[in-house]
Symmetry: C2
Subunit: 726 residues, 2 copies
Amino acid sequence: MAALLILVIVAALLALGYAAFNFIGVKKLDEGTDRMSEIAEAIRVGANAFITYEYKIIGIVVVIIAIIFAAIFSVQYGKFSWEPSVCFIIGVVMSASAGWVGMKIATYANVRVSNTARKTKNIGSTLKVALKGGSVMGLCVGGFALLGLFLVYIIFGYGLNMISISALRDGQHIFTQCLSCYALGCSIVAMFNRVGGGIYTKAADMGADLVGKTEAHIPEDDPRNPATIADNVGDNVGDVAGLGSDLLESFVGAISSAIILAVSLFLSNIANKLTVSDTLLMKMMYFPLVFAAIGLIASCLGIAYVLIKKGSDSPHRDLNISTWSAAVITIIGGFVATYFMFKPETKAVLDVAGFKTGYTSPWIAASLGVISGVIIGAIAEYYTSYDYNPTKKIAESAKEGAALTITQGLAVGMKSCMLPLIILGITTYVSYAVSGMFGIAMAAVGMLSFVSATVSVDTYGPISDNAGGIAEMSELEPEVREITDKLDSVGNTTAAIGKGFAIGSASFAALSLMVSFLYAFQPEGSQLELNFTNPLILAGALIGGALPFLFSGMLIEAVANAARKMVDEVRRQFKEIPGILEGKAKPDYKTCIEISSQGALKEMRMPAVLSIIFPVISGFLFGPYFVGGLLIGATLSAIMLAIFTGNAGGAWDNAKKYIESGVFEGQGKGSPAHDAAVVGDTVGDPLKDTVGPSLDILIKIMSTVSLVAAVLFYNYNLLYLIFGIR
Amino acid sequence: MAALLILVIVAALLALGYAAFNFIGVKKLDEGTDRMSEIAEAIRVGANAFITYEYKIIGIVVVIIAIIFAAIFSVQYGKFSWEPSVCFIIGVVMSASAGWVGMKIATYANVRVSNTARKTKNIGSTLKVALKGGSVMGLCVGGFALLGLFLVYIIFGYGLNMISISALRDGQHIFTQCLSCYALGCSIVAMFNRVGGGIYTKAADMGADLVGKTEAHIPEDDPRNPATIADNVGDNVGDVAGLGSDLLESFVGAISSAIILAVSLFLSNIANKLTVSDTLLMKMMYFPLVFAAIGLIASCLGIAYVLIKKGSDSPHRDLNISTWSAAVITIIGGFVATYFMFKPETKAVLDVAGFKTGYTSPWIAASLGVISGVIIGAIAEYYTSYDYNPTKKIAESAKEGAALTITQGLAVGMKSCMLPLIILGITTYVSYAVSGMFGIAMAAVGMLSFVSATVSVDTYGPISDNAGGIAEMSELEPEVREITDKLDSVGNTTAAIGKGFAIGSASFAALSLMVSFLYAFQPEGSQLELNFTNPLILAGALIGGALPFLFSGMLIEAVANAARKMVDEVRRQFKEIPGILEGKAKPDYKTCIEISSQGALKEMRMPAVLSIIFPVISGFLFGPYFVGGLLIGATLSAIMLAIFTGNAGGAWDNAKKYIESGVFEGQGKGSPAHDAAVVGDTVGDPLKDTVGPSLDILIKIMSTVSLVAAVLFYNYNLLYLIFGIR
């Protein structure tokens, strides 16, 4: 069985190697004019400064948590238990590395994309550079995630013999604990990158727009605006590194929870005196890894195909081809794997594991996940692209003023929740029907298996956006800007698809983590009776449901606070630096970058602490049932809010773009309709780029924290210790 | 035991008698100048026309549903079962009567309030007229609700012997079915009044504002605006009749579900072979009614006290006194009732019923409900009154433009969800801990017991608002307008408190209906295992969670669509009627009223059908587990959305008022800050007055429909009939 680990490490190294190859390939390209180099350098320095500062803080937090974990688990297991802490640190290192490499390449690729456009004047070649840059982030997500899992399996599973059947049977669960801690390590970094990065990018963006566009009437990305470099740094910090760590976490969370569920199921079957098969357990512990490895290899193939094939003039189609081909190859490869792994088992053995449709069961669940990931992305595209009615209707409303623009956008966002949730509901039910709880987790693994392809396409967006900014700031020919604009507009659609996918997959990962929590918290492996007539669960669900709203409200205020400081600074510079608006004096970009950095890291503190502390405190006060309810409530309301904010924000943004494209005669840029659309876009910005993505993290981090502490909650909580109520 | 029914009918008749007394007392007052009478008449005719038209539609819908019910229940019970249909019709008649009387008095009281202000120039006397008018609606809510329950008990319980112990023990549940159908009758009317009225009032309001304030620059309630009468009609239709039927439905839902739970508990104890006490069951079946009757009497006393005592110059304090005194008297009276009813029972008997703290158990639960109702109201006041920071901060943001006003308002609304949910969570848990599931239902009864006092205070608001409008339109002296403005501003705060209370109590009523559903659906009285690891429940919760978002999005669009038609009409009149803007020609009010009426009744169709059909179709497709999940998901997300929209809308409205009060020097009416605040208010209007209140109805109607059809879902659903999956 261990031979399967070779497949995992091969896939990881293939992806990382291909990432390195593309990194070098991009970096060796020319940066263009001096002005371009200079701007790119400023962005690069700003991004580096933020991530260095942020990683220092992460370092401190991580060391503290690792020590606490070692202490707690040593008490819990009655011997010095350093293993979960080390796994936690491996997770941190993997996720931090992926974010760092991805951000690095994005700050190299942006200027090289502008330069390719400048030199070739060809959209196909320019697209390839942007996608090559994006692929580095995408491949690193899959590569580092599997590398870390490989390490955890090799060091702890084999080296320390934790996945021997006898070790698993003794019910101490230390291997599943190691996996949870590995996932938590990834979560912590994702929290910083996504929440901190999200606040950073929107504070800079809103700050730049509020003074630049509205007061000084200078266009977006104008070099006279002191906040413009910070805005571009933000794209790399929030939209690249943040997105990467977010999806890496979902990927790891889905795989880990599938493995944990396999173990729990095994133990619960033993507890129920069923005849279990040790071989099948092992296979179920490897199948999620194998499926993920196949997905990663498929993603490499999908990306390589688009990078190698002759460039077409439809960038959108090319990008879709890479995702879809990855999805199809994953499904086919997954079938081969399930055939070889589960076909040899007898029906009786498979029945005990809950495989209702024979050996194909886990494959059906995983394939359903793949398909629903693609569909959820398409739904997000429908609601946010201006090719379709919802966004067009917002643009129409803009003619009637800001109030109706906002109203219509809210309506679109709210209505957009139903379809993705129906897809999630069907996938949940059918994957359970064919393969039990393990099926739900496998659907999550499936949905995330081709994550490297989707992240590559998704990262292409902010790189093109930055490239456009650099073209504008370097005052390149309009033709160049035209090419980057075209790429950017495709990027908006892919970003919407990517956001839908991120939310859908995060929901699924969270659901599957939640289910693991229900199974994991009792040492006997029996499952938590999460009955809604239990008032602790009901109370937990009520309070949990309010948590994402509180968290969102805090984040919106955080962005607004940070943006206000930026506004003050930009106003100050416009006033105090003579000649700045005439382009004669250089603005002080650095101070703006510092304001964004400090604002982001200060403002993220409360929400970050909240998401970690809330489940922990509730667990020790009211026990696992309350936490179970809390997770259900929070997951449900976070999914809705994330879809609502993501789609409303995306639709407002594109409604503005639709008006800018000149569809309404005489109502282009600067018209009252456009002004109304700008209000919509400004409201939508923090919703779609800070709140929505951060909600993904909120529910995953709450679930992982709870999963890690589940047994502790069960044994030590106030209600139990004082009143004996469990 | 039946003697207790005398208390119920005495309370009901006392309330209705007092309502009649106040109705006559208000009506005999003078209407003032001819101009005032004329305007009042126009509003009255408009309101009558709408409600007559609406009630005709309700009539048709009701007859159809009653026939379907008779058919279904005849099949289910194997004999011709007309009883539930009759109970359903009783519910419809009670709720419709309350709404009709309340709206009637509001259209008489408005002009008399203006006239009292004109004649006395005294705020205390004017307040009394407004409150006297409001009290008619409040007292009718409690009076008609209990009258109907009395009829159901007397006719079906006694006359047809349905609550004899033997009838209850045979498990056919027809009496509980009668109660559910009675509650559903109230729900149907509430749905029309609240959703239809909500669309009506905001379509007229937004339509009037969008052209009047923004384009023609004429003030609010200006008689030159053709939509202004429709706007005033809307207050009476949506804010008076809609609110009244909404709370009547919550009141009835809470009481019915407490009684149903008592019966289910009894049957489930028998099924579990426990020794049950028939006397205790009877007492538990009467206690909710008794507590509600005490609350109604207490409300009469509270209202009478304020109407009789010497008027002070602090209207807000006077209004609070009536609510608080009603709450205190209810708690004290409730203790007396619990003492006489449950003290005589032995500990063993009480233990079986789940009374953990002896005979006081249900009283503790109900009192907790009363207290949390008051607290939730106070929290809503904190978030929406401009005496406190959240609203002030929105007003501050208005200086920075529309986008930040919206952003800040969204943040306030989102953050405001946590505290009320913590209160709900604590109340749920503690009331269960002292008195089991019956305790949760009793907490809901407690929260709603003094509903007549809160509705009276709440109805005072729109009456004062209308009075102000009439004063403006009749061009009365500024002093009069000053008095009505002061009353109106107090009305805004009481409206916010009332909205918080409406949402809190609706949530509780829905929770308690949901719990009844879990218990009720199995003929044996055993409870539905609503375990979240059941994938049907999980899928149901996911889809259910999206439902309130879909519903809200549809309602926002409905208001916008109806408002657009109004805008077109107002623009047409401004253009086509010469001299209208100079005040020389009279606008055509009637057409605007017709547009609002037709728009409302057309636009409400889809959302109304959705809320009834969705649970029914899902129930027959996927069975009761799916519906259970659906209810949980929908209830959770509706509670959050209702609080979010209610508080965000209220805060925007008051932020605008705060700016109008002139706190920011040089930034009063017409300034850019005020313009930004108007955008916030316009966005908030449909959120707080249409979406939020309609969500109350959505969850209650879904729960009641499911409760009525529970057994059918269990026996006839596609999954069960085809795959045998239950």
